[in-house]
């Protein structure tokens, strides 16, 4: 037998969709709204990646860099440079963190000494001098002992161009401000503005001593055709063959530099992606609901097709065609919408983005959107689609199409949700770049849906009570109320879909401000001692006693004084502990692991745990150590840190503590609340092991208001020039301010999802009244006024709105409390205003949207009763 032409089924499917414009349009709008945020975000990420890729050379200022914390030996350098291709150009750079002061103010800065051709890529632009060339660089800085500073430093220190600044032991003239710096990153949060000096002048500051942590860099510009990865690998092998401090030299190529800067943005993107997924999810609920009704209404057409000789499979395929077409159309619409959203993201995230960043949509993003639209619409509708087996052409002889209830076995129903679950999980993991976060997110979403859905079901059962006829004389109001409740009862799937859409949306828009509010409160109360005010680090051992004395005069006590010893982890259980830096990490976890493994570690030791720590596995560290006993020392690791780099209780670690090999065994794992902002360490030794190793100390001061903080910073810096002070309060404020921006972006996505929720309500309300049209008309014929019927609809959606609002808010409170408890040391406060406004707002929106959706239909004349077929 011959087959239909290739286009027959698709075109028939299309015809049917065009004929059901109401359904098609709403289905598309629903899905498109959900997808739009997602697509915009995807394009944004693509743009960022591309930008970082393009500008990574400018970020590093070179193709390749060698970095060390001690000055390079000539011999070492010449050995390494012998590996470099001919025509390689080089320059040097030194940078360190230090405090600078004007007459009466002190600030932490990043001091950078540059020379010659720096940077090889990109241009440093000065306010007065404009873009600088290498010649000017040498003249401008080298000769005259001048400094270029970031404008915010002038602002902080109340200085002007032409005035002096004291750096270390020397005065420098501020000759210009830097308005564009391609190598500036957003990762410092602007906490330590940069000051440029000539490389040659760095020595004069007296800061290049062992007391400060100085980073020495040698930067290279290699010929264009060089294979950087191969070269990097070659040099790395050479470095490995070195011993002593030379073996600690790190080689970075520019691709890596771009990666590092992208990390923070990457985290934010991950979370934005998850929030955007909720919008997709809500949209999916709406689309599935609409599709369900569409499908039921089309059982008859499907039956006819079958009676005319179409196979069941062909009939199903036609529906699949329809879903695919709608999904693709929705994706196209979403792409157009996303073009509107995309420019908003860089505006919102301006502070984090490197200068010169531009968004653009990549072709692959668009293809991805189309596929997501098509697959998403299929997967969301699959649970509904499984009901299609209810179509029995036999019923054509009886005229009650689709009236027959289908006994869908439970396993089949559950199975039909499986692809949705798998897809959501896959996308979450992919979006968050983390198996753990992605899975947790889907788990939480699933729980929320099940709980809220269960709640909705329970309420509907309970609501049956209200739908009974009350005793006494009936008023119109009571009658309409009764009818409203009965309608909710009758259309459970619609009511539950509306409820879910609204409640999840409410949950989402409440969650973020609810968590944030608690933190904000905390920071605004400096008298609260939980968060330290100032952080002191790089304190030399011999300075501790004097520092205590100085502070005592100020009636202050230095808290949490902890020694810090730098070391490298060389072996774990006798095997080399290093990682292949070539492989680019696939997940955030892997990225972090690589990051940790490649870095020098900060060890500490103390006898007692601080109040922000607790042992979760193993026993407490012994309080004394006997060098002669020949047993390894005891260490404690932070739980999550150990997990990330794959260390377990009982592992034997071999540390290189500044060329002394120390063996240690993990005897316990600790949980640390980092958000307490107290000095904590990943790796803690028992006392008695590291006491003689060269260490610096850090400590914290608490309970200081702004003027005291300024005063103390000045005091400490003038007495101890090598000690760095961080204003923790200011830093937290700053972080919060920056998180303001992140939160705004997250909120934008959240609002998108509530909008998606409202479109669901709109579609369902509209569909409901259309399905009940003849009933409504009958009510009119029986004497109900337009306003009465409207009242009935409004009661229906007011009930839904209030309940969804209440449950959504409740869920957000529980969740935010949980998150605050886990991440933020119980810093949580119920802001009832937000909750109240949410419930009222959601209810009002629900009523408003329902009225809007149904107004025209309700007004229609009951005459149509006679005409309806």
């Amino acid at each position: 037998m011959k087959k239909a032409s290739l286009l027959f089924w698709p075109s028939l499917a299309l015809r049917e969709l065009l004929n059901n414009r109401g359904f098609s349009v709403f289905f598309m709008i629903n899905l498109a709204l959900g997808l739009a945020g997602f697509i915009a975000l995807d394009s944004f990420k693509e743009s960022l990646d591309a930008h970082l890729g393009r500008n990574s050379q400018a970020i590093l200022g070179a193709d390749l860099a060698l970095t060390s914390f001690v000055p390079f030996e000539d011999e070492t350098i010449s050995l390494l440079e012998s590996k470099l291709p001919e025509n390689t150009r080089s320059t040097r750079k030194i940078s360190l963190f230090t405090m600078v002061s004007s007459e009466n103010q002190t600030r932490l800065i990043q001091l950078t000494g540059i020379e010659g051709e720096f940077p090889f890529y990109g241009k440093i632009v000065l306010q007065k001098g404009g873009a600088i060339s290498s010649k000017e660089l040498n003249q401008a800085l080298d000769v005259a002992g001048k400094a270029w500073v970031y404008p915010e430093l002038l602002h902080m220190l109340n200085l002007k161009i032409g005035e002096n600044i004291i750096i270390g032991e020397k005065k420098f003239l501020i000759s210009d401000t830097v308005i564009e710096d391609p190598s500036s990153s957003f990762s410092s949060f602007g906490l330590a503005p940069r000051v440029y000096l000539a490389y040659a002048n760095m020595k004069d500051t007296g800061l290049l001593t062992k007391k400060s942590r100085v980073s020495f860099q040698k930067l290279y510009h290699v010929p264009q055709e060089t294979d950087l990865d191969v070269l990097t690998a070659k040099i790395r092998v050479q470095i490995k063959s070195f011993t002593g401090s030379d073996s600690k030299i790190r080689i970075i190529n520019h691709k890596k530099a771009g990666n590092n800067i992208g990390r923070l943005m990457g985290y934010l993107n991950d979370y934005l992606g998850l929030v955007a997924m909720i919008a997709v999810f809500l949209a999916g609920i709406g689309a599935a609901y609409l599709f369900r009704n569409y499908l039921v209404q089309h059982y008859r057409e499907m039956s006819i097709m079958m009676s005319l000789g179409a196979t069941r499979q062909q009939t199903y395929n036609m529906v699949l065609w329809q879903l695919t077409m709608l999904g693709i159309a929705a994706a196209l619409l979403a792409i157009i919408l996303s073009m509107g959203i995309l420019p908003l993201l860089p505006m919102l995230l301006e502070k984090f983005l490197p200068s010169g960043f531009e968004t653009h949509s990549k072709f692959s993003s668009l293809i991805f959107a189309l596929v997501l639209g098509a697959v998403g619409s299929l997967v969301f509708c699959l649970p509904v689609l499984s009901r299609i087996r209810a179509v029995q052409p036999l019923q054509l002889f009886h005229g009650n199409i689709g009236g027959q209830a289908l006994e869908n076995p439970l396993w089949r129903q559950i199975l039909s949700y499986l692809p949705l679950l798998v897809l959501s999980w896959g996308i979450s993991v992919w979006q968050s770049h983390s198996l753990v976060i992605g899975s947790a997110f889907v788990g939480m979403l699933l729980c929320a849906v099940l709980l809220l859905g269960g709640a909705a079901w329970g309420i509907l059962v309970y609501a049956a009570k209200f739908s009974r006829k009350p005793a006494g004389s009936p008023s119109v109001w009571a009658t309409m109320k009764r009818l409203a409740f009965r309608n909710l009862q009758r259309n459970r799937s619609g009511a539950i879909s509306c409820f879910l859409a609204l409640a999840l949306g409410t949950l989402l828009i409440n969650l973020i401000p609810q968590i944030y509010q608690g933190l904000q409160e905390e920071v605004n109360r400096p008298e609260d001692h939980r968060i330290p005010s100032l952080f002191l680090f790089d304190i030399q051992p011999d300075q501790i006693a004097i520092l205590h004395k100085v502070l005592k005069k100020e009636q202050l006590k230095l808290n949490f004084v902890s020694p810090m010893v730098r070391a490298r982890l060389e072996k774990v259980n006798g095997e080399d502990f290093s990682t292949n830096q070539e492989i680019s990490p696939r997940t955030r976890e892997a990225e972090r692991e690589q990051h940790i493994r490649g870095h020098t570690l900060n060890l500490s030791y103390r006898t007692k745990l601080s109040e922000s720590e607790s042992i979760v596995a193993g026993r407490a560290l012994a309080t004394s150590f006997d060098w002669d006993a020949g047993v390894p020392a005891e260490v404690s690791l932070e739980e999550k840190y150990a997990e990330r780099i794959g260390l377990k209780l009982g592992d034997l670690l071999t540390f290189n503590v500044q060329e002394v090999i120390v063996e240690a065994k993990i005897v316990n794992l600790r949980r640390v609340k980092w958000n307490s902002f107290q000095p904590n360490f990943f790796i803690l030794f028992q006392p008695g092991v590291l006491d003689d190793a060269p260490a610096t100390f850090l400590g914290a001061l608490g309970g200081l208001d702004q003027s005291r903080r300024l005063y103390l910073q000045n005091l400490i810096v003038s007495e101890f020039p090598n000690v760095s002070v961080i204003d923790v309060t200011r830093m937290v404020q700053r972080v919060l301010k920056i998180s303001d921006q992140m939160i705004l972006a997250l909120r934008l996505m959240a609002y998108l999802s509530i909008l998606a929720g409202l479109v669901v309500v709109f579609s369902i309300a509209r569909h409901e009244v259309e399905g009940r049209l003849w009933e409504l008309n009958l009510l009119k014929v029986l004497g109900a006024k337009f306003s009465d019927i409207q009242k009935m609809i409004q009661i229906e959606f007011a009930v839904l709105g209030i309940l969804a609002g209440l449950f959504g808010v409740a869920a957000s409170l529980i969740m935010s409390y949980g998150l605050a408890w886990w991440f933020f040391e119980n810093i949580w406060k119920w802001t009832w205003e937000i909750s109240f406004i949410s419930v009222v707002g959601v209810t009002a929106l629900s009523i408003g949207v329902a009225s809007l959706a149904t107004g025209r239909t309700l007004k229609s004349s009951p005459l149509s009763l006679l005409r309806s077929s």
């Binding site: 037998m1 032409s5 000789g309 196979t311």
Partner: protein
């Protein structure tokens, strides 16, 4: 012999394990070109019989041979194909596809199997039912009688061996019903199709070459 029914039983499961037997030991032989009317009270099982003949449902037991082929043992796929080639069905409620024009409705069963002349053949069929000039109209633009004529055209366009009609005039007024019936019989006569027609209407039944009464599940 085009149709041969032998000892046909059909029962439906009731809610509580009880069964109701709708057709009991039914026997029938129909020759090619015959027109057979089945009459009987409401609920006597007429539609049930048609649904079995159309291959839309399966009998409980007995044999049902169409064109010397036992349709009860055909696979679902085979049956679909067999139906598409041999059986035309006309329903009381017309059941036209609302989003397709008259012409498209008629050509639908042809297009499903990639008939290249589907357009021409459908036009021809519409002409036969006297609706050539209405080919671009949608079902909602047609009267009941016209709709049923389109449905008839759609049933005969595949040149079926047997035409099954369930109350084809049941939804129409008397005069229109007669017109539609005239048309139906004219078509059957000119094409030599076999017709099995179910009706309450005795006048309509009498136009057939043979009348059977279904009572309590068997012919009397």
């Amino acid at each position: 012999m085009i149709l041969n029914i032998n000892g046909l039983y059909k029962s439906f499961a009731q809610s509580d394990s009880a069964q109701i037997e709708v057709l009991k030991n039914l026997n029938l032989e129909v020759l090619e070109g015959e027109t057979v009317a089945v009459v009987g009270q409401s609920g006597s099982g007429k539609s049930t019989l048609l649904s079995l003949l159309a291959g839309l449902d399966r009998q409980s037991s007995g044999s049902l041979r169409l064109k010397d082929q036992e349709i009860s043992i055909m696979s679902e796929e085979k049956l679909t194909q067999f139906r598409a080639e041999n059986i035309g069905i006309i329903f009381q409620q017309f059941y036209l596809m609302p989003h397709l024009t008259a012409l498209e409705n008629v050509s639908l069963p042809l297009e499903m199997f990639g008939d290249e002349d589907s357009h021409l053949r459908a036009q021809e069929a519409l002409q036969q039912v006297g609706l050539a000039e209405r080919e671009n109209h949608f079902p909602h633009q047609l009267s009941g009688g016209e709709s049923q004529r389109v449905a008839i055209a759609r049933a005969v366009v595949i040149k079926p061996t047997i035409l099954l009609a369930d109350e084809p005039t049941g939804n129409l007024d008397n005069a229109t019903g007669v017109q539609v019936a005239n048309l139906l019989f004219e078509l059957v006569e000119t094409t030599g199709m076999t017709l099995l027609l179910v009706t309450h209407n005795t006048e309509l039944a009498e136009r057939c070459s043979r009348q059977l009464t279904l009572h309590s599940g068997t012919f009397q």
